[in-house]
Structure formats: structure tokens, C-alpha cells
């Protein structure tokens, strides 16, 4: 049996998944390796043999059978039957879902919507604009301020968090009016301001951006349209698609954009950032703050 090709999560067996999730903590290392393969390559279970699974997980056949029993199945045969059954059931719905343009189910609609947000947003990003923005964000001699409307504050924080891992001097401008004005007032020429806001713009954001511009700060706007009031203040404007399936805008496209920029900055600051990441890693390790499982 050849090793299975990639199978998206949609097709995974819920029954098996549940049992693995429940027993997950009590699995031994070797059993865990097998379980990972089961989750990642269900076809290997459905079509393959104990030996195939064991080889894929670099374990012995006995371990495979033990795992199946521990999950409550009647040996490997039971596990296999469960996966086969689920796989067979998934076949029909998958086909029907493709035919119906997913207009009815919420999840499918969101799937389509968010994909469009990603495609549109990153599709609108030119290599030149990206290089320019990355250049500025990667300029360690400049401070980077990030200003965001309330609705996108979380995404902004996410971006800032990542950037902070790569370099110093990146901050979110937030808080009350006094704090914002102070932060902007302290910005000087050579600094960089990323301002992030979508339609129904927050007045204070625009005001703060205006003030920053008068201080000679280099501004990049991330907004929904080139007609945005932010666009006229910024040296560079990156537009994002933010169609939401619920009552709010979706910032999935924006976050995808942020990820691209972060990757660009990381690439630009390669050695500098690597050193930082190493030091951070060492600190985490010393405190054993992170666990593998």
C-alpha cells in the first residue's frame, strides 16, 4: 500500500477523532506517533494494513494494535472498519456539497467568503508596494507605531506581536485620548506609522494619523479603499477585502496581509531576527514555558 496522499480535514473520521482526542493524554509516545498518522492519513488506515501503519509511524505492529484497543475498538480491524465507514459516508456529502454552491450552509458560505477575502487582498498587493512597506517596517532605526480602529484592534495586536518578535520598537497606539496624543506627538521624522482601519472609520484614528503626518512620520495605510481618508494621508496604501458573513467585517484578509508583511520583514532582518528568536527561545527553554505536548 502506497502512502496516502494529502487528505483535507473535512474527510476525517469523527468517531476516531473523538476517541483519539479523549484518550490523547494517556497515550504513550509510540502510540502517539501512530495516532498522528491515523489523523493525518486516514486512507492508510482504511486501505492499508497494520504493517503499513506501523512503518509510517516508525513503530511496531504491536503498538498499532495496542492503540486500536486503547481507543476502544475491537483491535485494528475495528479501527479500520470505523475509518472505512466514515470515509464511505463522507463520500456522498462531499460530492453533494460541491454541486450545491454552498448557499445554504453557514460554514460553506464563510469558507467561500473568507477565501475570496484572502485572494482579493493578497492579489491586490504588488511586489513593489510590499517591498516598500517591508523596507520601512524592517528599518530598525525607526520606531514603528501601529494605529488601528477598534474593530480591527485584535489583528493589529497580532501583527505587532509578531513584529516585536523580530525587532524592537514596535508598539500599538491605544488607550485613551491622552495616551494616543502623547504617543503620536512623540513620533518624529523617520518613524513609521501603520494605520489600519476600515470604512466607518474611527475619527480618533484619522485624527491621530493626521497629527503623525504633520510630524513627518512615514505612513502606510491598510484600509478598505483608496478613497479612504487614510489613503490620502499615507505614503503607501494597501487595500484589503473584508466581506463578512456575520454582522461584522472579516479581517481574515487583513491578517493574511499582515502575515505576508511579517514574513517579508523576517526575511529582510534574517540574521538580526534569528538572533532575537534564539535568545527568546533560550529564555523560554530556561523557564520551560513551552511544552511540546
Amino acid at each position: 500500500m502506497r502512502a496516502g496522499t494529502f487528505v483535507p480535514t473535512t474527510l476525517r473520521d469523527v468517531e476516531v477523532e473523538e476517541r483519539i482526542g479523549k484518550a490523547g493524554a494517556s497515550l504513550t509516545p509510540a502510540e502517539r506517533r501512530v495516532a498522528e498518522v491515523v489523523l493525518a492519513q486516514p486512507q492508510l488506515v482504511a486501505f492499508g494494513t497494520v504493517a503499513d501503519l506501523a512503518e509510517a509511524a516508525s513503530s511496531g505492529a504491536a503498538t498499532v494494535v495496542r492503540l486500536a484497543s486503547k481507543l476502544g475498538f475491537d483491535g485494528f480491524t475495528g479501527l479500520q472498519a470505523s475509518v472505512q465507514h466514515a470515509l464511505a459516508n463522507q463520500l456522498r456529502p462531499a460530492a453533494e456539497r460541491i454541486r450545491e454552491p454552498a448557499a445554504t450552509d453557514v460554514i460553506g458560505r464563510h469558507q467561500q467568503l473568507e477565501m475570496e477575502n484572502v485572494v482579493t487582498t493578497l492579489g491586490a498587493l504588488s511586489a513593489e508596494a510590499m517591498a516598500d512597506v517591508v523596507d520601512h517596517l524592517a528599518d530598525v532605526s525607526a520606531r514603528v507605531l501601529v494605529l488601528s480602529g477598534d474593530a480591527s484592534l485584535g489583528v493589529a495586536r497580532q501583527l505587532v506581536g509578531d513584529l516585536c518578535s523580530l525587532r524592537d520598537g514596535v508598539t500599538v497606539v491605544d488607550g485613551n485620548d491622552v495616551a494616543v496624543r502623547r504617543a503620536v506627538a512623540l513620533a518624529r521624522q523617520g518613524d513609521v506609522l501603520m494605520v489600519l482601519d476600515l470604512r466607518r472609520y474611527d475619527r480618533w484614528v484619522i485624527d491621530a494619523a493626521k497629527a503623525a503626518r504633520q510630524n513627518g512620520v512615514w505612513i502606510v495605510a491598510v484600509t478598505d479603499s483608496l478613497l479612504s481618508p487614510l489613503a490620502s494621508l499615507a505614503e503607501r496604501t494597501l487595500t484589503v477585502a473584508a466581506a463578512g458573513g456575520g454582522p461584522f467585517d472579516s479581517h481574515v484578509g487583513t491578517l493574511a496581509l499582515a502575515n505576508v508583511l511579517v514574513a517579508g520583514v523576517a526575511d529582510r532582518l534574517r540574521v538580526h531576527a534569528a538572533d532575537r528568536l534564539d535568545r527568546t527561545e533560550a529564555a523560554w527553554r530556561a523557564g520551560s514555558s513551552l511544552v511540546e505536548r
Copy 2:
């Protein structure tokens, strides 16, 4: 082996179909019966045995093998392998075909990556799981705590921000150890905890989740795998795909998932939330906090 359910033509094995069509005329009556079953219930071939197929076609095992050979396969084994292969191919939806021409440029690569994250993450979300989680998040009599690893804190905040617009009592558990412990200690039975963390899990997050569980809090985990330590603590586990093009994980899929949940909660709390949004809107209008352009 149970008889398979109906499978639409799209899912049939083209390879086998072709060969049956070609040899169709020269098939004996019994072979023809077997061939009918092969076409009608490919799963019986993929998952079953010679005996199963023979029984389904009211024929002998020898006839099954003869048919397979007559079709040019290397015995029943060859036929089975062909059907399995075709089945596995049909199992992967459009998502994978999209990425086939692997993009070379950074932006294109991210585009594909993030789309896969969205598709995979939302694809893994079952309607049932979503309904359950939304039910709990929309329960206004419960408090909702959100606990997130450092790397995904921004997304968590984004989620909480949206939820706060829809209902009261939603908070991010964050800050120093003392604050976290206090927040978790104050949680009581009936409350809801959403814990969000990906591999290389933050120890404090796991510890806090464990404490919450002992308090009888209903937990939903949003994590990268069912083998995550969070999965065994949670009543529900939603898995996310987080492949990143840069040095960090991408939380685009997670944010898409969050958006779906928010939309679900908004729908569930329709009138309640509408009233809240109206009041918020009025406040903004009174202060002219938002501008159209």
C-alpha cells in the same frame, strides 16, 4: 462488510469504468452481475473482500477473480487497488487542485497557504460541533472566558472584541500569573472557557485550563491537533490549520473560524444582539466617533 450506500457517478472509478465498458460485450452473465456491483458499489470493492463481492453479485469467488483478470487487472488485488486509488483521488476536494501550480513568488505562496488554512480549518468544522459551541457562547447567563497562548493573543482579542459587541460577560484571561489564577478561580460551573493555543503550547495556558476544568467550567479547545493537551481537557475541540509562510504560525484559519462562531452567536442572539448594536450605534452617533469618509 456492510453493503455500501449509493454513490453518484462522479465518484466512480474512471479507470475501472473504462475497462468494463471495453470488455462489456464479452462478459458472461455472471461476470456481468459482478461488474454491475463493482459500478454500483465501488466501496464494496475498495473495502470488501472477494467473498463480499461474490455474495453481493450472487456469484462465486472465482467469477470475481476471473472478471478482474479479464479486465486486465492483476487479479482481484489489482482491481481493488485501482478502485482504492480512484476513491482516494475523489476524496480530495477542489482545495488541493487549486494549489497544484505551485507559486514561486512570496505573495502567491502565501495566498495558497492561507487559502488552504481557511479551507482546511472550516472544512474540519462540523455543523454539530459548531452548533454546540455557539450554544455555549450564546448563553448569556454564563460568563465566557477566553484563554490564549501568546502567539495567538491578537486573534483571541479580535474574537472577544466581536463577542463583546453581541453580549456581556466575555473577557480575555491575560496578564500576570496572579491575575490569571484569580480569573480562573472565580470561574464557576456553568461558565464557558475557550482556550486557544497551538503546538509548543504555553504551559501556563494548559495549567489554567486544567484548573478551570476542575471548577466544572465547560471548555472548548481551539488547537492544532486532537493530540493537543488541550483536547483532552475540553468538551469540544476545534482543530485549525496554521501553516505559515514566515517564521510564525498563521492564524488566518483560526480567525476565519472565529468569524464563523461570531456569526453563529449573532444569529442565535438576534434580537438581543440587535438591541445592543443599536445602542452602541446611537452612542457612536452621539459622539460622532465614526465617519463615513
